[in-house]
């Protein structure tokens, strides 16, 4: 039955080498993170060193060819798109999670789960394609130019919706059953059971789901690149085009040289720090103990 070796009773060579080999691989994998950070820093160094990083916040706007590296318009662009997407995705996703946890059952639940998995697995470039071909022309007919803050918010909200819905549903699933049974025994109506018992108990998990969605929204590139219009300016209207930090990197990496290239790496570094901070907060929030009502 066990065919691989001549004799199973003695420790053979491979066994002794296995642990160091695996350990070396694991440490090498972990070291990749250091390598990533090192390379980002190295590449960004020309525009970060000697206090030049302050220019990211004091320069008026992003004219890299003229030595102006103001990142604030695009940072605000990213944040505006993210906030808009969250305003749409948070209630819809939470409602979908409540639907899956308390209202759906049997066949309907299976169909819902399948569709949600499909949406979660939808490549962002395909969502962007839909936004560009269907949504942008619709918006353009109403309020030109179409490719705008609003378009990015709408498509991005679809993209982060599964994150909110799936993570909130798993938070709701971890609510202790006796609590729900107690609520039902008290004669609370369905709405109060959910709003007054289940959601308060699961609130840390739900907050963590929201933070994860925020991190995903800020890090997403393709959707915002394809539908936001990509004009570098402070967002000042729903129908105005904006450019996000991620989209800027994707747009300009192809031809950026020297300081310009360094500026793009620096914006990547900034983006990474923001996203990691959010992911860390999400982890912290999820770990907090459940305080029963």
């Amino acid at each position: 039955m066990i065919l691989s070796k001549r004799n199973t009773l003695f420790r053979w060579g491979a066994d002794r080498q296995l642990q160091p080999l695996l350990a070396a691989l694991a440490l090498a994998t972990a070291a990749m993170l250091l390598l990533i950070v090192t390379f980002l820093l190295l590449e960004a160094w020309p525009v970060v060193a000697n206090g030049r990083w302050r220019d990211f916040f004091t320069d008026e706007s992003w004219y890299p060819l003229e030595g102006q590296f103001g990142l604030l318009p695009m940072l605000w662009g990213s944040i505006a798109i993210m906030v808009g997407a969250m305003i749409l995705a948070a209630p819809l996703g939470l409602a979908a999670a409540i639907f899956a946890s308390f209202y759906a059952s049997g066949f309907v639940l299976r169909v819902y789960q399948m569709l949600m998995a499909l949406l979660a697995g939808m490549p962002s470039v395909v969502l962007g394609l839909w936004g560009l071909m269907v949504l942008v022309p619709l918006l353009a007919a109403w309020q030109p130019p179409g490719a705008s803050l609003l378009a990015a918010m709408l498509v991005l909200s679809l993209m982060i919706l599964p994150t909110v819905a799936l993570a909130s549903a798993s938070a709701l699933a971890s609510v202790p059953k006796p609590l729900m049974a107690g609520a039902a025994a008290l004669g609370m109506c369905r709405k109060s059971q959910i709003m007054k018992v289940a959601i308060p108990v699961a609130r840390h998990g739900i907050w963590s789901a929201m933070l994860l969605a925020v991190a995903r929204a800020l890090g997403e590139t393709m959707v915002v690149l394809m539908v936001a219009g990509n004009v570098v300016q402070y967002p000042h209207g729903l129908f105005e085009p904006v450019r996000a930090l991620t989209a800027n990197i994707a747009l300009e990496m192809g031809y950026a040289m020297e300081d310009h290239r360094a500026g793009l790496f620096a914006s990547g570094l900034m983006l990474t720090s923001i996203v990691l901070l959010l992911a860390w907060l999400a982890g912290m929030t999820a770990k907090r103990e459940l305080h029963h009502v």
Binding site: A23, A26, M32, L33, L118, G121, V126, M253, L271
Partner: protein, 276 residues
């Protein structure tokens, strides 16, 4: 009454989400199916992709995914085994590795693209190539692959380990013949997550594997994936809508097929090893 209203709101919201999703899929199928044919899958793109097919692009996509999984899967499984079997609970090295993997999992994909461009393309001199793109993606999916596999290996019941020891199996054969097959559903799950992320990825590839739409001759050639092709057609080529939609359908089908392959592979392995 308010109970009814609440229920109505919940149903309405869910229906909105489902309706939007059906709209997207319906639109994609409607626009894409018209252009989809046997010929489309295997012929060369013409006229910047407006006409012709996606033959070379499919080949590049599969080559990049091949590089990704040939590197990520062995490394991922090895690291997962190390984390699950060779580190004590609370060991410092293990926790550091886990922490850095979790941090890596949070890094946005465009940043992997930046790193891949700086490290693989320029520093290691691979240029814009299928190899650089594949390795960048491998790095990107490693964290999620490792953490899923680790969870699978450590959830294998201790009875299996004791049984292997009682039979006098060496550590390595126990891992290869008992633990990995028993953990194979989790490995497949990690693989599926990785496939989903890797085949959908666009941002990390634009500046690592490049844009070239000719048939790749080696791993050092630049080649565009389906997702980059869709992006290019919709953003940079006017009149590329039809082929973009058809390519999107092919991409979705590809993800589905790879997912099913991963599932059946894990089922076979489990059966072949354990139910002799």
């Amino acid at each position: 009454m308010s109970d009814r209203l609440f229920e109505a709101i919940i149903y309405f919201c869910t229906a909105t989400v489902v309706g939007l999703l059906l709209w997207i899929i319906g639109d994609l199928a409607y626009q894409g199916l018209a252009h989809l044919s046997f010929d489309f899958l295997f012929s060369e793109p013409e006229n910047a992709g407006r006409d012709g097919g996606i033959g070379p692009i499919l080949v590049s996509t599969l080559m990049i995914l091949g590089v990704t999984f040939l590197t990520a899967l062995p490394v991922g499984v090895a690291v997962a085994v190390w984390l699950a079997e060779f580190t004590r609970r609370g060991s410092i090295a293990g926790n550091w590795v886990r922490l850095s993997l979790d941090v890596m999992a949070g890094v946005p994909s465009i940043v992997y693209g930046l790193f891949g461009n700086a490290f693989f393309c320029l520093y290691l001199g691979m240029g814009f190539s299928i190899l650089s793109g594949g390795l960048t993606l491998a790095l990107m999916i490693l964290p999620v692959l490792i953490r899923t596999c680790e969870a699978g290996v450590s959830s294998v019941s201790d009875a299996w380990r004791h049984g292997a020891q009682a039979l006098g199996m060496s550590r390595s054969s126990a891992i290869w013949h008992i633990l990995l097959p028993a953990a194979s559903p989790a490995i497949a799950a990690g693989l599926i997550l990785g496939i989903g992320r890797a085949s959908a990825e666009t941002a990390a590839l634009i500046f690592t594997s490049g844009y070239v739409d000719r048939m790749p001759e080696s791993l050092m050639d630049s080649g565009r994936t389906l997702s980059v092709h869709i992006y290019d057609l919709s953003m940079n080529v006017t009149g590329g809508d039809a082929t973009a939609h058809a390519s999107a359908l092919v991409l979705l089908a590809l993800i589905l097929i790879l997912t099913m392959l991963a599932q059946s592979f894990s089922g076979r392995w489990l059966q072949g090893r354990l139910n002799v």
